[in-house]
């Protein structure tokens, strides 16, 4: 089959994925046949307007798009179509598969487990550290970590995977050459090196709000299981979860506290029957992944003095606590608290996120 025609059918203005799906169904997945079809044949397809048929039969447009295809392949833009072997087979299964995938770097491999780690942009420090840890654990167990490069949970998951030197893939809403959001450019570069960037839209397509649900269906479509780390009740990650269920993927959620608004969506998912992420080891076992030595957390073998231990284990929480509170609750002097906090910070166990507000990170 000719890739040119596939490129052409994906780039006709005003013909989106739904219409393409209908056309391809009518012509047995052969866009070339559609190109050579007449008025009548095209008119039989429900949902196609007169203007659409004219656009399909517009030879000038076709010529222009063919030229553009040549130019893009010359430029080294990578794309893959459903009839090709490289096209991820997991995506083929889903009901509204993308009819083209543009990518940078590599594509996810079919016979390696893929796991998506997604969550809200506006996450807590705890959520960030869990996402990072999940990314790290999954990648070092050999899984492909897939997410959306968004701020917050998504990027933390990517970073964790990069840290472990594993495979990670980011699905963008806009074109793969535009790093969105641009704050994550460093991670974007790391991901290209450790895996790939994937999108349904051609290069230079700016990201618009309506594209995110489309992007989310690819994220869930590309993987075997989706883990929601932190999601509010109105979070876009819940769309991913819903689509994952539709696509028959396993959904996991990281539990939060009852009163915690950041985790309300996750808790709701669990209540509805989603799997709970209760420990990293159990998670790996359930996903049939090997628990390697690198996945074990080395938290226990750090030696702490008694003051530090008291601060660390009893008081410091994954929510931030102020210096004043710590002094009051420990009955230690300000000097002692400062000393213990500095020691913990130097050991990398806690972090000062705002002035004199401390949280534990492991």
């Amino acid at each position: 089959m000719d890739r040119k025609y596939w490129f052409w059918i994906n780039n006709i203005p005003r013909i989106g994925n739904i219409k393409i799906r209908k056309i391809l169904k009518a012509f047995g997945d052969d866009p070339e046949a559609a190109a050579h079809a007449g008025d009548k044949e095209l008119g039989c397809i429900g949902g196609l307007m007169q203007a659409d048929i004219a656009a399909i039969m517009d030879l000038n447009l076709r010529k222009r798009l063919f030229e553009e295809y040549d130019r893009r392949t010359e430029d080294g833009n990578k794309m893959v179509f459903p009839f090709e072997d490289e096209y991820p087979s997991r995506l083929k299964e889903i009901y509204d598969r993308p009819n083209v995938i543009y990518y940078k770097g590599r594509l996810p491999v079919d016979d390696i487990k893929s796991v998506a780690v997604v969550g809200s942009r506006n996450c807590s420090e705890y959520g960030r550290s869990v996402a990072m840890e999940l990314g790290r654990v999954l990648a070092s167990a050999g899984a492909q970590v897939i997410s959306g490069l968004a701020l917050g949970i998504d990027v933390a998951a990517h970073q964790g995977a990069v840290l472990a030197g594993g495979l990670t893939f980011a699905v963008l809403a806009g074109g793969v050459d535009l790093c969105y959001p641009k704050q994550n450019f460093n991670t974007y570069v790391d991901i290209i090196r450790n895996g790939g960037i994937i999108s349904e839209f051609p290069d230079n397509t700016p990201t618009r709000p309506g594209m995110f649900p489309l992007r989310n269906r690819i994220i869930s479509g590309l993987c075997d299981a989706v883990i929601i780390v932190e999601a509010g009740i109105k979070s876009g990650s819940l769309i991913t979860a819903a689509q994952a269920l539709e696509q028959n993927r396993q959904v996991y959620a990281v539990p939060g506290r009852i009163s915690d608004g950041d985790s309300e969506g996750c808790n709701h998912l669990i209540w509805q029957g989603a799997q709970i992420v209760y420990s990293y080891d159990e998670l790996l076992a359930e996903l049939n992944l090997n628990i390697s030595e690198g996945t074990k957390i080395n938290e226990k073998n750090i030696l702490l003095a008694s003051d530090e231990k008291m601060l660390y284990s009893q008081l410091l929480d994954f929510g931030p606590k102020s210096l004043e509170t710590l002094i009051k609750e420990t009955n230690m002097s300000q000097m002692q608290v400062f000393q213990a906090l500095l020691a913990l910070e130097l050991k990398g166990l806690i972090k000062e996120i705002s002035k004199n507000f401390y949280i534990r990170i492991i």
């Binding site: 950041d262 102020s322 002094i327 906090l341």
Partner: protein, 501 residues
Amino acid sequence: MLGNAYTSVINGIDAVSVKVEADISAGFPCFDITGNLGVAVRESRERVRMAIKNSGIKMSPARMIVNISPADLRKEGTHYDLAVAMAVLQAAGRIKHNLCEDIMFIGELGLNGELRPVRGVLPMVINWCRSGKQYVVLPKENAMEASYVKDAKIIPAATLNEVIECINGNHTEVSFEKSDSSPLTEYGMDFADIHGQLSLKRAIMVAAASMHNMLMIGPPGAGKTMAAERIPGILPPMTYEQQLELSGIYSVAGMLKDGISFVDRRCFRAPHHCITPQAMAGGGNGLMPGEVSLACHGVLFMDEFNLFSTKTVEVLRQPMESGHILIDRVNGKVEYPADFMLVAAMNPCKCGYYPDRNRCNCTPAQVRAYFGRLSRPLLDRIDVCVQVPRIKYEDMVCDDKDIYTNEYMRSVVERAFNIQNERFAGEKYSLNSSIPAADISRYCVLDKEAENLMNSIYDSCDLSARGYHKLLKVARTIADIDDSEYITAEHICEASGYRMV
């Protein structure tokens, strides 16, 4: 016939004596003044002529020329009137010549012959006395402020006639009683009024003990302003030289009035955040001192620190480093002292509650942007950064006083000041906060444990060289409060808790 009288030109907070010469000769009647004059000085000839006439002194029409020398110095202000009048009266033979040689005349004349107060008296009197002379004639409203200069003999007067009388009567003493200048230490506000907030009060004490610049971060209504207002109250009294310098600045700025004749307390300046860079630095018409100079030896409080325009805030950089500010404008170049303690306050984010996620909905990007308005070099110059948490209900209603009262804090700060004065006896500076980088290793001596700790902090916290020195200076101050000769690990720990985030 010739007549001479002396007065002064103000330049910054310094003054230069100038001589007013008058000549009356026959010819077409006129009255001219020369000598690079500003508008207000040029207008003085009308005031002088009418004041002389209305004081009942008859002058026959003649050619009167007045020159203020040196003629190349720019003259601004209205205080030349009296000297011009005295020179003219001498030239007209109304006053004996030799009487005015050792007297400086300061004052603006009204058309009815009365003397009106002027600004900048203090620097003029200081300069006059420095040149070995003593007598100064000035408006009685300005007499109080001039009397703080130790050697000066002040002759206050209310009208031109009074001035002539006391000159002709060979300086008949219109004696002036010096008000007793016992330093006032009561500011009417006490740290005991602030309940709880122990860590804040401790940090303020550390900062005040060496006038370290500090930044308070906290939610609205936590007590940042309340705490800042009380800082001048725990600083030790200024020395006489500092008082004189500060009063000079206020005198030049025309702010010594309404019964305030001398600034003997630490100042608290809290400019609003819409202030312009010029008002902050100084300048404008007459090159007035700005807020940084008015806060000299005291506290410059900047509430909502990040809402100040970027330019205004960056103006602070040079004075924070050097302790003075050089203002260079079209109409001159002056240097004002600007050795202040910066106390800045701000909210952690737009809504003010970060990192309390139950109340704050700001995204991390918004929080970063809120902080991002402050430049890193400026934050680098702030030594003590502290968080002011929301006050708890139990603390607010509890009436138990903690140890942090003004009395206790002032005694601690004063002791630390004394230690520092002793240590830096031979140096140009007298506080830890102004130790130059070259001298740090000499004065900030660490013990073994502290050195190891400092090493690991430097590596893991990614300090800059300035940040490293800053940490050592704060640790030095904490050690002084502790009366310890060496800086120990404890001191480093606490200082590191005051690090900028």
